[in-house]
């Protein structure tokens, strides 16, 4: 039963497609005839067929002598080639400094540096702004130039070794290390190994704790 129904439907659609095809073909044929006649008309009036460009269907635009000299031509010898003359400007223009429209151009120019964040009530992307009170802590986690937290996951050895890296630490890095260790231990119910690089100002933790550490950083206001 179902097969029969399907067949019926497809038959109808086939009909419609056929009709549409015929209509399109007819219109194309008509257009083609019109095009050809127009072309012949143009040739009749222009006289020199060689000067008509392929796409110059309307004869409104005239190609002046100034623009023609731009077209490169190969001369058989250097001696017979004409002297280079100043190319006639095809359009009249004047140079204006700082017009009122320049503001619209400036709007399109790329940023010189990455712009500051505009303060809002909430951010739909889930981005959390840093808080001011974080600066009174003995340690600090500076945001990157893209205003993101500098906490990254490094995966090596085909996914076997996962290391979470916290970069851009300022202030007391050892105190920060102790607090992170305590926090991760309480949260994950297990001891988490960390490694502190005092000169490079970063801490690495063994394991994927990116989300935990981001949560911790947000709770501290970084």
């Amino acid at each position: 039963m179902t097969a029969g129904v399907r067949h019926n439907v497809s038959f109808e659609t086939n009909n419609i497609v056929l009709i549409a095809l015929v209509a399109i073909l007819y219109s194309l044929f008509k257009m083609a005839t019109v095009w050809r006649s127009q072309c012949a008309f143009a040739r009749l009036f222009a006289g020199k067929t060689g000067q008509i460009l392929n796409n110059a269907t309307d004869l409104g635009t005239k190609l002046g002598p100034g623009s023609q000299s731009v077209i490169s031509r190969k001369y058989s010898t250097y001696g017979t080639s004409p002297y280079i003359t100043k190319i006639k400007e095809q359009y009249d223009y004047e140079i204006v400094k700082n017009p009122p429209e320049w503001a619209y151009v400036q709007r399109l120019l790329p940023f010189d540096t990455i712009p500051q964040v505009t303060p809002k009530e909430s951010y739909p992307s889930g981005w959390v702004p840093p808080k001011e009170e974080a600066k009174s802590l003995p340690y600090f986690l500076a945001r990157t130039k893209n205003h993101e937290l500098p906490i990254y996951l490094n995966i090596t050895y085909r996914g076997i070794r996962q290391i979470t890296k916290i970069k851009r630490i300022e202030g007391d890095i050892w105190l920060l290390n102790d607090e992170i260790k305590q926090y991760l231990k309480e949260k994950n119910k297990r001891y988490v190994e960390t490694r502190v690089h005092e000169v490079g100002r970063f801490i690495e933790t063994k394991g994927d704790y990116v989300n935990d550490l981001v949560q911790w950083a947000h709770s501290k206001g970084f």
Binding site: D112, T113, I114, K135, E170, G200
Partner: protein, 285 residues
């Protein structure tokens, strides 16, 4: 007599007018306090320091042998208080040495050593090892296999941010070691080299001094004074590099040079640098 009068008038002028920094074209100086001719400048950067406090330095002078403190100046911690990464400094020094180094060591291959076209002895029948040429690498006086060939460049490009952090960490290390001094300008009263020597000796600056100004043209007196002294060099801001900073014991920046360096480095630390990172990448598509 007249010069003494003029200098007296100048001194009067300075004491009357509170010192306003004329160099601050890019960033506005927030406050300028003037108490007995000491200008204390609180700076207002485009990118404010977040946690680490700005570094404070004295503005010194060069027009007397004795050091005079003309004012107090703030330096951005991102540029002048970066952690001392000697690994990055080393990478920069190696890069600066290698970027222009071309090895001209050259050896001849077996094809280039004279002779050796004839088979020294028959292949078989003598009980000796088979050889086809007396210039093969096995022979004494033969060609060298895989030897150095001249005109070998060691050019490579250090990643953009390593170059950037090389500058910041070297500047910071210099400042932390008291080897960075800020002067108002490079004006000297005389063009005598002895004056410059005496000044450096008196202020306990290192024997070698690198002076950095933000213009290409230094004042005449300092050029004449440092011309015969090989260990005192002048450099424009755009020539500042890690190698020269390490080569000289003391780095002396003019006020405008320090501001320019700070402004440029802060700009690149906060800009999208994808275009700068691109050109020398090896795995480009």
């Amino acid at each position: 007599m007249t010069s003494a009068l003029i200098s007296a008038i100048k001194r009067l002028h300075i004491s009357v007018v509170p010192q306003v920094r004329v160099y601050s074209s890019n960033v506005a100086a927030a406050a300028t306090a003037s108490a007995n001719n000491l200008s204390i400048t609180k700076k207002d950067w485009a990118f404010q320091p977040q946690y680490t406090k700005p570094r404070e330095v004295w503005i010194e002078n060069l027009d007397t042998v004795e050091e005079q403190k003309l004012g107090l100046f703030e330096l951005h911690p991102l540029v002048f208080a970066a952690p001392p990464r000697i690994d990055i400094i080393n990478q920069n020094v190696v890069w600066q040495r290698k970027i222009r180094f071309v090895s001209w060591a050259h050896t001849k291959t077996r094809a280039e050593v004279r002779g050796g076209g004839r088979k020294p002895w028959p292949q078989k029948g003598l009980g000796r090892a088979r050889h086809g040429s007396i210039r093969s690498p096995l022979f004494r006086g033969g060609g060298i296999a895989h030897g150095p060939r001249s005109g070998k460049t060691h050019f490579f490009m250090l990643p953009f941010h390593l170059r950037l952090h090389g500058l910041t960490t070297t500047l910071s290390a210099k400042l932390a070691q008291d080897d960075l001094h800020i002067v108002k300008d490079l004006e000297l009263p005389t063009d005598d080299p002895e004056y410059l020597n005496e000044l450096i000796e008196k202020r306990n600056w290192g024997p070698s001094v690198l002076l950095v100004d933000d213009t290409d043209l230094a004042p005449r007196n300092i050029i004449a004074a440092s011309d015969t002294l090989g260990h005192i060099n002048i450099m424009p801001v755009y020539g500042l590099n890690v190698y020269s900073m390490l080569k000289h014991d003391t780095l002396v920046l003019t006020l405008s040079a320090a501001e320019k360096i700070e402004e440029r480095l802060l700009h690149w630390l906060h800009a999208n640098t994808l275009k700068e990172q691109q050109p020398f990448k090896l795995n480009q598509v």
